[in-house]
Amino acid sequence: MPYALCFLLFVIGLYCVLVKKNMVKIVIGILVMEYAVNLFLIMLGYRTGGAAPIIDKTCLEPGTGQITASFISTSVDPLPQALVLTAIVISLGSLALIISICVRTYEKYGTFDITKIRRLKG
């Protein structure tokens, strides 16, 4: 069920990109899609009643220093978290670039409306 809601968020973002004609709105649509994918990836790694994948003193066996079995069986998946960290940075980078293109286009055309920005045909 949470997966379904997450997918709904993705579809809302896609709808915004397809239907809206304001440049900033389109950027917002892309951002919403990015949030949806990030949430989805983290959900894939979630374990009910799980623990964060960070080892501290309570996760080590007192004598031997080995990692306790309870940590191994409750820790959530660290791999999707690493992927999402990368994906967030990528989305920040592309946000900066796309906003700079928007600002520059506004400077040239005086509008954010893509139906009025039509020098190129076809």
Binding site: F10, G13, L14, V17, M23, I26, I30, M33, E34, V37, F40, L41, L44, L79, P80, L83, T86, A87, I90, G93, S94, L97, I98, I101, C102, R104, T105, K108, Y109, I114, I117, R118, R119, L120, G122
Partner: protein, 504 residues
Amino acid sequence: MSVPLPVFVAIPLVTAFLLPIFGKKGKSVATLLANLATISLLVLAVVSIGQSRVYEIGKWSIPLGINLVLDGLSCLLLLAVSTVSTAAMLFSTRYMEQYTAKSKYLCLFLLMVAGMNGVVLSGDIFNLFVFLEIASIASYALVGFGCEHEELEASFKYMVLGSVASMFILFGIALVYGNTGSLNMAYISKAIQGSGLNAGLGFALCLFIVGFGLKAALVPFHAWLPDAHPSAPAPISAMLSGVLIKALGVYALARVVFNVFGISVPISWVLIVLGILSMIVGVFLAVGQWDFKRLLAYHSISQMGYVVLGIGLGALILARGGNTTWASLAILGGLFHLVNHAVFKSLLFLTSGSVQMATGTRYLKELGGLADRMPITRATCTVASASIAGVPPFNGFWSKLILVVAAVQAGFWGIAAVTVLVSLVTLISFLKVQRYVFLGELPENLRYVKENKNSMLVAMIFLACLCVLMGLLVIVPSLKQSILDPAVKVLTDGVEYSAKIINM
């Protein structure tokens, strides 16, 4: 000699990080460094022809770390990328003097090359996504490099569609990870062979086809290409049309469909239909264009259709359990056309840049009679036009011939007929280019046009020679066995890829 594989990514990356430090004064040093980087990449790519190996990064064995894979297919793409980037970089040395911020341009150029090399070598699907983003983001910025009205508009359109494609691919990766618990392509492939293709993986495959199809500008997803490719500076158009849509689109699609998910009849039909649609729609839209570079961009869509058609045809024959010889012949035609297209389309874009730099316009109706004023540009443009139209001694002829033969032998007469027809329309449209740019009357304002300077001509002559000589790749058996056959074998082997990687 075996080159450590990360070098292919590290050389352009490190050079790119160095370049912005040189400001206006160090421009010539920066140009020299960038040229050295692309040339050394070309040398390294030539050295590693015919090798195949796996490199595990950080000495972590594969399910833990990331691996780089060099096999026939990646080697072919590496060669194409480094050849075109060497020529385009040589061309930009002089061409980019028109613009400011040249060292940043060179930096973005090298980052794009690094991204493409990373995509081509990667054996891990998320890593492929990351490098795909590097190459895409660099190309978005380069399309808008001129900062004029059309360029910004095209760049915005390209970036929106490109970002949507990236999100589709990332969502597909998430679905694959959820279903198989792995990110390494060999392990995903093995898990899929074990459990079969369930609905989740099928949906992921659809997402990949749409995402990579958007990056490759196949026909229902082609809206951005005719705007983006002409708006970029000419060397960048050459890179985008020549290699970017192939490395990020077709290569990634072929890798995912053939080696990870495995081929089946419906998927092959999807590829064939996409290919035929791209061929026909692209070429008929191209005939009516009066903008030189826009015409070339529409032809890119059409020629990519040939590549996808060849690959799809091979997949169909293989999936039906037909004759493997014809299947490999069809795939050979597709892949050979991919390399040929990289060479002649980048040459065409470079000649268009040369014409535009000399005359200041690229509208066919304002040009004319340049044959005497720009003899070398004219000669190279003729060679490239003959190649793209499939005139006999040049390279385009051979790949189209192979495609037609494969289609006829496999019994697809309709497809063979369409291939020949599209080729004829291409010929007509390039006769139009020759007629309006180089023949006819010289307009008054172009009376004092001069041929461009050395480095630009060297780049064009280099590519023109390749156009003439590349037919040898299929005629000389030893060349064919070392370059094209391993690439075809990677695709025909299909999902045996995973067993090879895991045992290596």
